[in-house]
Symmetry: C2
Subunit: 339 residues, 2 copies
DNA sequence: CTGAAAGCGCTTACAG
DNA sequence: CTGAAAGCGCTTACAG
């Protein structure tokens, strides 16, 4: 392999001069710089990442801890991963992808061995076992997902409580007085998926404040169970005029359920989902929805993480918890209830 | 950070002895080994990955080059990624995930800088620009997807030609004599997605051999266009009794199309898709399908890659092209055509 | 504006 | 069975 020593020799300078010429960390005569650059091109030199990491204590790699659970809708996770990956690359970082079931152990492995300069955790649970490992690690970390205890961590998430209130209020203003909310499966909640009950509780509270009847249930994450559930709900609550979905699988199943019942939105039923625009386009979901903004959240997490990685002052600043305000993307699936 | 020097001092031995005690590469007295292990635990030592990589020229990291195109169904790619990631971890390797649009440049970057010991390329095109970079790299690589020229590369893919023949023959044996095949969008073909025409051409050939009429078309990759296309096809070819789908989006759209037309499989129409079982479960697709086996292909690629990485002899062995025989998963969506 | 040297934290021949 | 030393390929104070 061609080393910086080879480049230095070819350019007729010392290794340190070659290094400085490439990094630009001290002034180099134009002529020498040219000779070094020529040698780099001629020899096809690229710095050895391991050697550089050893010398600088920087790897330019960020760990991405993804977590796939059987009962969650995997395609939704992909959006977050791509947001993080793209944002990291723009800032000069590569991504070490970790998908192990035992996330805490994997996190310890990559931080202890200094494979990464920092870490992003996806799908963070209320009492996430990875957090104590992260707090003990020397590298900074950023979370996508709001845990019960945020101390010492930078946290980014959709404001699910506000999302729940927005859904209810939007329907209320249109005149709806009886609604159904389909959340994620109860398993997700039991595992600590706090966003589920954050949205649900806020929606219930807002409904009671507005005098709206809200039937909240946990849905399945797979077909055909979730389709049956939707049918059952519509049978059980014939007075309900609006449907709120915090459940990707339910949203994906709804078009055929409505079609089968001869219903259409918003003429017969108003519908609001909670998913990303990318998701809506992939499955052509015709429902207005609270944008879950996976790419935006991924970018925010990376930006804050890189700030902490690269600046010693930023490292000491107080940690942030940023809840993105929900945005309702109007796809014309809500209207005044049928009279 | 705690180094092997700290461990050595705490154990009262030299650094080399500490290193050997941990690697087991030479015999160490039980007592010394114990002292070293105790010191490791007490101090919480983990070897620095960069330093080890520099000393051994091994990073224990494999690069995973994923490629997301606007007009392809992203969730399908995730399955391959997870297969590769899980298999790599079982063999002791971590995954560097690369999602850049310019795959050839990204590949050069991670191989030139020796960030990885080897590389897996996903979604390989007929004339993939990444291949020349890979051939020039010092690290071995494995492909998932069959390019036009396999020389010097280990290649793993589904046998799409056999898949096309299997689909046709299965229908033929049941008595079908007129079929429709919906392939991926034409864009995918133009970009070099050879698997599309490999399946399609083989299906056409087999059909003509059997005296079966086969209407082959390129489909869209998104709703609602793909749904409209399916409807058009069924209108245009009322005599067709079987539907073959080499297009995930079409498979996902079909249930509601059939429902809307008051048709059911296999009573009115026999259907065979081509997708993974995981995909079928996520979307509860009730159609028999050729299993695309993304996890299996990912595992095969990783196993071969690691063999080449770890054994100098394996490094020199001839390269392999392994086409997995298609397996038809029966979900009871095919039968004799209606009379 | 440039060079010689030390050091990052490992592993592994070389010696005993 | 163990140790002292060299070396992996960089970067960066230290000196001039």
């Amino acid at each position: 392999m061609v080393t910086i020593g080879d480049v230095a020799r070819a350019a007729g300078v010392s290794r340190s001069t070659a290094s400085y010429a490439l990094s630009g960390k001290r002034t180099i005569s134009a002529e020498v710089r040219q000779r070094v650059n020529d040698a780099v091109v001629e020899l096809g030199y690229t710095a050895n990442a391991g050697a550089r990491a050893l010398a600088t204590s920087k790897t330019m790699v960020i760990g991405l801890l993804a977590q796939f659970h059987e009962d969650e809708f995997a395609p939704a996770m992909l959006q977050y991963m791509l947001g993080v990956s793209d944002a990291a690359r723009e800032l000069g970082y590569d991504i070490l992808l970790v998908t192990e079931a035992d996330g805490a152990r994997a996190l310890g492995r990559i931080t202890d061995s200094r494979m990464v300069d920092g870490v992003v955790l996806l799908n963070v649970a209320e009492d996430d076992p990875r957090l104590s490992t992260l707090r003990a690690a020397p590298q900074p970390g950023a979370l996508v997902g709001l845990p019960g205890n945020c101390s010492g961590l930078d946290v980014f998430d959709l404001d699910f409580e506000e999302a729940g209130r927005t859904m209810v209020d939007h329907m209320y203003r249109l005149g709806h007085r009886e609604l159904i909310l389909v959340s994620q499966p109860e398993h997700v909640v039991e595992r600590g998926g706090a966003y589920v009950w954050r949205l649900q509780n806020a929606a219930l509270e807002q409904a009671s404040l507005r005098g709206v009847r809200l039937h909240a249930v946990f849905g399945d994450s797979k077909q055909p169970a979730v389709g049956r559930l939707l049918n059952d709900l519509l049978d059980t609550h014939p007075e309900a005029t609006g449907l709120l979905l915090n459940n990707e699988a339910a949203a994906a199943a709804l078009p055929s359920v409505l079609h089968a019942r001869g219903l259409s939105a918003p003429a017969d039923l108003s519908v609001i989902g909670r998913y990303s625009d990318e998701f809506a386009r992939t499955f052509s979901l015709p429902f207005s929805s609270i944008e879950s903004a996976p790419d935006r959240l991924g970018r925010m997490a990376i930006r804050q993480l890189v700030r902490r990685i690269e600046s010693p002052e930023a490292r000491k600043q107080p940690h942030v918890v940023r809840l993105v305000s929900p945005e309702l993307v109007d796809r014309r699936s809500t209207a005044a209830p049928p009279t």
